[in-house]
């Protein structure tokens, strides 16, 4: 119970005071993702470093529920400084683990909307879940 209040506070903090929210001037790329069923919409924009390898900064804009917005806000913090290569293997599960709050299956879509937008913006596919094979090759 107290735990769930703590999680709620983390989400509500990002919801009420979103980090890196606003329009980015001259981004290296941007993309929009929406969830028409609930009207959520997130736009992600990013800038790369001089060598075009690393995410220098990431900003978001949009509307949605607390998880959609908190997911976007947290994402901008988590991926800052990551290389494109690192982002390419950053799975949905990695991101949810980094968020550090329990997310019910019904609401995963909300939390992951910004990450999907970022992948589209950068032009990478959703990485497959890393599975350790039980069978020898």
């Amino acid at each position: 119970m107290t735990e769930s209040i703590l999680y709620r506070e983390i989400i509500m903090d990002h919801y009420k005071n979103p980090r890196n929210k606003g329009i980015m001037r001259h981004p290296d790329g941007s993309a929009e993702r929406d969830n028409p069923l609930c009207g959520d919409r997130i736009v992600i924009a990013y800038k790369l470093d001089g060598k075009k390898k690393k995410l220098l900064s990431v900003k978001f804009e949009g509307t949605g529920c607390s998880l959609t917005r908190a997911g976007a806000s947290m994402l901008t913090e988590f991926v800052k400084g990551k290389t494109i290569k690192e982002l390419a293997v950053y799975t949905d599960g990695d991101f949810i683990a980094d968020m550090g709050v329990p997310i019910t299956p019904a609401r995963k879509k909300c939390a992951l909307l910004a990450l999907e937008a970022l992948r589209t913006a950068v032009g990478i596919e959703k990485p497959l879940i890393r599975k350790t094979s039980r069978y020898p090759k």
Binding site: P36, C38, D40, L67, T104
Partner: protein, 414 residues
């Protein structure tokens, strides 16, 4: 306020095993019956008795259990006929759900009769089930779908309805009761207007009416009337199409195969009689039998009693919600001609967040567009929260709803 019909809800809760469950350690409060209802033990028992005692395919075997299963299956057809006062069991067709019933009409009657320049008249408050099939039909045949507007008070604009119907109108389709606004449309009157001004066939989407109020399809007088068993205590997987016999007889089958033919040769096939002509393949036998038990259950109370009881719940919930600062209710604000589905918002809290906070309290409500995106566009919101009641809900459930709203207000500082 005295709650006279306490007996109804008290008896009911005992009959629904799932309502005794706890969720997150709290009493389970189910306020999403407009999406699908819970099932009484009688329905669960009827289905399991079928599987345990006499299951076999219907209309086929010359052996005892097949005959018994066929009889039980056909008995439900008679129960459905009597429940909605249809003229004959030949007019009662079992489908998978209301959606399939509408598609059956769109494909079978629509494809054969809709021409370029024709108009299909529906309303702004339709569920996607009574909207997308018509859009697709219109696209394919160069026809046009027109939408009767709703008024600012969440009612159908009857003058607009009348003025939009003309000799060009070939199909009129509308919900008897809106699953978002809760509005009860004057079905018989709409049919009358349509008959007077156009040659159109009329389809009524009864998915939210048959479960909640007495429906007499002959008094309404439409050509087609559709609904789903799962929204009225029955299992999922069973729907009904009621169609007037004259029209059904002229229509081509929707699907073809076994059961729906009377004779097949290498050259072709002859269609079976009504209603089987429209029931291709093995149906949901145990599901239909379970549906029969649901109809018995509702009939034991009587739909007038069910409706009166739900009206009382709505008369308590609606003003209580409206009285909370920051709460907006979409749809009629008075209980007259209104069913128990109440779509609402709480300040700028997103419906997902409202539903999640309710879930923590053990309360199930729906959040989203409720399969009515165009209607939400009209309302000017992408999504809403919705509470809906049925005969097993109680005043205590409404208190839980109100407490949930206050919790949302506190967290979102509305």
């Amino acid at each position: 306020m005295v709650f006279k019909n306490k007996k109804l809800s008290a008896a009911c809760i005992r009959d629904f095993p799932i309502l005794k469950k706890r969720v997150h350690g709290k009493r389970f409060v189910f306020l999403d019956s407009a999406a699908s209802t819970q099932k009484p033990q009688a329905v669960i028992d009827a289905m399991s008795a079928c599987y345990k005692n006499y299951y076999a395919n219907v209309h086929r075997g010359i052996y005892q259990f097949s005959e018994r299963a066929s009889e039980a299956y056909e008995e439900v057809r008679e129960k459905v006929r009597s429940f909605i006062n249809a003229g004959s069991t030949r007019e009662i067709i079992f489908t998978r759900n209301a959606t399939e019933s509408i598609n059956l009409v769109a494909y079978s009657w629509g494809k054969a009769n809709i021409r370029k320049g024709d108009e299909i008249l529906i309303t702004e408050m339709e569920h996607h089930a009574n909207l997308v099939p018509w859009q697709e039909l219109a696209k394919e045949h160069g026809a046009k779908v027109r939408y009767v507007p709703i008024t600012g008070r969440g009612r159908l604009d009857l003058d607009a309805f009348e003025s939009m119907i003309s000799v060009k109108t070939k199909i009129v389709a509308f919900a008897h009761v809106s699953n978002v606004l809760g509005t009860i449309n004057p079905a018989a009157k709409l049919v009358q207007i349509a008959r007077k001004k156009s040659p159109a066939i009329v389809l009524v989407d009864g998915a939210q009416s048959v479960p909640h109020l007495p429906v007499d399809v002959q008094a309404i007088g439409a050509d087609f009337y559709v609904f789903s068993a799962h929204k009225m205590l029955g299992p999922s997987g069973v729907g009904v199409l009621h169609g007037r016999e004259e029209i059904l007889s002229e229509m081509r089958p929707f699907m073809t195969g076994g059961d729906m033919i009377s004779k097949v040769t290498f050259e072709g096939a002859q269609w079976n009689d009504l209603p089987w002509k429209f029931e291709a393949g093995t149906p949901d036998i145990a599901g239909v039998i379970g549906f029969g038990a649901a109809l018995d259950y509702l009939s034991a109370f009587g739909m007038k009693t069910v409706q009166a009881y739900e009206e009382k719940l709505t008369a308590r919930a609606l003003p209580a919600l409206l009285a909370i600062p920051g709460v907006e209710v979409y749809g009629p604000k008075e209980t007259r001609d209104r069913s128990s589905a109440i779509a609402f918002s709480v300040g700028d809290a997103h419906p997902h967040d409202i539903a999640s906070i309710f879930d923590e309290e053990g309360i199930a409500i729906r959040a989203g567009d409720h399969c009515a995106q165009p209607l939400h566009e009209k309302l000017g919101v992408p999504a809403t929260a919705r509470a809906s009641f049925y005969l097993y809900n109680t005043p205590a459930d409404i208190e839980a709803l109100i407490r949930g709203v206050y919790k949302v207000k506190k967290i979102f500082r509305v």
